[in-house]
């Protein structure tokens, strides 16, 4: 599989009145052609900053202090602003969380969808509008020809998110970055949007980076998953590896704190105690250690490197060190292990 995006050792700092916030502290990831990579993490973990760095859409007080963002082997961080403009919304495009604020309220949606084509491809206005109509039909806006003359307020929340998606894909981008595209939507609408993204991926062959904090959504859309905490990735692997064979205690905590439909009211929810660290002064050891019931002495002293679980699955926890003591993960995680084991054995037979 070809890597169309390869991010290496990314560091992003934010200058604030209180000092420098080290929001991203060394992130490596890649995106394979045609796949969906999900990045999960809590607010403030740095998932949005990571993907915005790819497009260099960061706030004024932010700076990428180290790292490379290789797109087909070329470092995007070395490109001029003009070269970036040619990529944004064209080769690499982005869907934002809030469909209410990412559309221009004073412009008809037909014009908004056609705009990227007019800017990038220098096609005629008539052609651009024709294409806009096709794409609006593709994302499931009924009667697109007539509705192109309408303004954003004349659409529902779910329809607006469809329009935002239409704008992002009108130029058939190679990479689509979706930053919490369904968080503001109801579950039934969320399900429709996820189906739509899957369908579009098959039709136009886009690779997707999908950011969310909802593990349920991840399970449905991702080929691979990366879990982020306090500005670093802590675990990544295929969707099955991360959900059925998780290795990092933070991943355990996330999976364990969600009630399943089988959790009864008598069972207490397992929560992760405490709150994430302040990245003004990142801890010297593992950032998750203070909240981690499985923390070892070394976690407070030294950041764990990534340990290899399989050739696609890595986790940054000292528990995977050969000398680490054996620990018993939460019951719900053990059940996930068992399911996976049974599967793997089933596959062998």
């Amino acid at each position: 599989m070809e890597r169309i995006l390869d991010v290496k050792n990314l560091h992003v700092d934010f200058k604030t009145y209180n000092g420098t916030v080290h929001a991203i502290r060394g992130v490596d990831f890649h995106l394979n052609d045609g796949e969906t990579l999900a990045i999960v993490g809590e607010s403030g973990s740095g998932k949005s900053v990571t993907v915005r760095s790819v497009l260099r859409l960061l706030a004024k007080n932010a700076s990428i202090s180290q790292g490379e963002v290789l797109y087909h082997g070329e470092d995007l961080l070395k490109k001029s602003e003009k070269e970036m403009d040619n990529l944004r919304g064209n080769k690499i495009s982005m869907i934002f969380q809030d469909p209410m604020t990412s559309l221009d309220p004073t412009m008809t949606i037909g014009k908004q969808v056609a705009e990227p084509l007019l800017i990038h491809n220098k096609v005629s206005k008539a052609d651009a509008l024709k294409r806009a109509e096709e794409v609006l039909r593709l994302v499931g806006i009924p009667n697109p020809k007539a509705r192109m003359k309408d303004y954003p307020h004349q659409f529902s929340g779910g329809q607006r998110q469809r329009i935002v998606i239409a704008i992002a894909i009108v130029d058939y981008p190679e990479i689509l970055i979706a930053d919490e595209p369904t968080t503001a939507l109801d579950v039934t609408v969320q399900a429709q949007i996820i189906d739509l993204l899957r369908e579009l991926q098959q039709k136009i062959g886009t690779s997707i980076i999908f950011i969310t904090h909802d593990l349920g959504v991840v399970a449905g859309i991702a080929d691979r998953v990366a879990v982020m905490y306090a500005g670093k990735f802590v675990e990544y692997g295929s969707v099955d590896e991360v959900f059925y064979d998780p290795q990092h205690p933070y991943t355990w905590g996330l999976l364990d704190s969600m009630p399943t439909l089988n959790t009864s009211e008598q069972d207490r929810l397992n929560s992760i105690p405490g709150t994430p660290p302040n990245l003004l002064n990142p801890p010297t050891g593992d950032a998750f250690a203070p909240r981690n019931a499985y923390a070892l002495q070394i976690d407070t002293e030294q950041q764990p490197p990534f340990f290899k679980v399989t050739k696609t699955h890595y986790a940054a926890t000292w528990l995977l060190h050969p000398d680490a003591p054996k620990v018993t993960p939460p019951v719900s995680i053990q059940q996930r292990f068992k399911k996976y084991q049974a599967w793997l054995e089933g596959d062998v037979k």
Binding site: E42, V187, P259, L261, R268, L269, N270
Partner: protein
């Protein structure tokens, strides 16, 4: 069954319309009836715009109901006048926890004064020492450090702010709390902390909750009974397990089929059920009990099928 228990809140044919008589009239809540029993957690789910928050806000009388009755411990509160002594008493018995912990705390007030505001209004603290002591107890109850009472809201995280909101609601010693999406603005790892806290407090103090949410797995976990709302109507109401194992209304079925579960195997094989509004509603339908404790908004023929 729940029917043997004492209803703490009875809602009878509640209607809450806005912009009445104008072109943009909205029937946010359209003839809704249900009981909430002492000590239970009553979950109210529905999508945005379904009227679930409006129902909560009408019950606590942030709105004046258009018609219908709201009985609290048998007394009709739907027509009480603002600032009347009865209303004041009622306001101390029923409290609300809001969705957004960033918007629901006054940024210019110290945590101490935010929590004590209810004590001041209802004259529940005789002097400053007692007031401070009470605030300390409340902060302790929600697992916040009492030493932080002189801080301002911005100094706290989202989860901590929601705890402050809970402490404020508890200050006046209410019996009934309406929690309107109290965890949807919080991260997954923090949600469980707040839900556990709410359950501990309920157990310790024998509180009754109305829990409004769109996160169905959390509602199923926390609720004894669940009502599903759609377009201003309750379309189905039953015990939490019953709703999940035996959903009868097409909308409930559609909603349940859309909940994402953190399990790739389930997600990959999931079949979603679409719901077509126009096909499932007509004026022959009414809200009726089709099986013991299981209510459904349907016509009489459909009801007969389930009986």
């Amino acid at each position: 069954m729940a029917e043997d228990r004492n209803p703490i809140v009875q809602v009878k044919h509640l209607k809450q319309y806005f912009n009445i008589g104008k072109a943009n009239e909205v029937k946010a809540v359209d003839d809704v009836s249900f009981n909430i029993y002492e000590g239970e957690t009553f979950g109210l789910v529905g999508e945005s715009g379904s009227g679930k928050s409006t129902t909560g806000r009408s019950i606590i009388r942030l709105y004046k109901p258009t018609s219908g009755q709201i009985l609290f411990r048998g007394e009709d509160i739907s027509k009480l006048k603002n600032r009347s002594p009865k209303m004041k008493k009622f306001r101390s018995e029923m409290q609300m926890i809001f969705q957004d912990p960033y918007a629901s705390l006054n940024p210019r007030m110290k945590v101490k004064d935010i929590i004590a505001e209810g004590l001041d209004i209802h004259g529940l603290a005789k002097n400053d020492d007692e007031r401070t002591q009470r605030v300390e107890e409340l902060l302790d109850m929600v697992h916040l450090n009492p030493e932080h009472m002189t801080r301002y809201p911005y100094e706290f995280s989202g989860g901590q702010r929601q705890r402050i909101g809970i402490a404020r609601a508890l200050a006046v010693d209410p019996q009934f709390i309406i929690a309107d999406e109290p965890i949807s603005a919080l991260d997954v790892s923090i949600q469980a902390q707040v839900v556990n806290l709410l359950q501990d407090i309920q157990r310790d103090r024998g509180l009754t909750y109305m829990f409004i949410a769109h996160d169905l797995s959390m509602v199923k976990y926390i609720s004894d009974r669940i009502a599903v709302m759609y377009a201003g109507k309750i379309v189905e109401l039953a015990d939490a397990d019953e709703i999940y194992n035996n959903p009868l209304h097409p909308y409930t079925q559609s909603l349940l089929s859309a909940i994402p579960v953190p399990d790739p195997e389930i997600e990959k094989t999931r079949e979603r059920i679409d719901f077509d509004h126009s096909r499932h509603f007509n004026d022959q339908q009414r809200f009726q009990e089709v099986q013991p404790g299981h209510f459904l908004y349907c016509d009489d023929q459909t009801a007969a099928k389930f009986k």
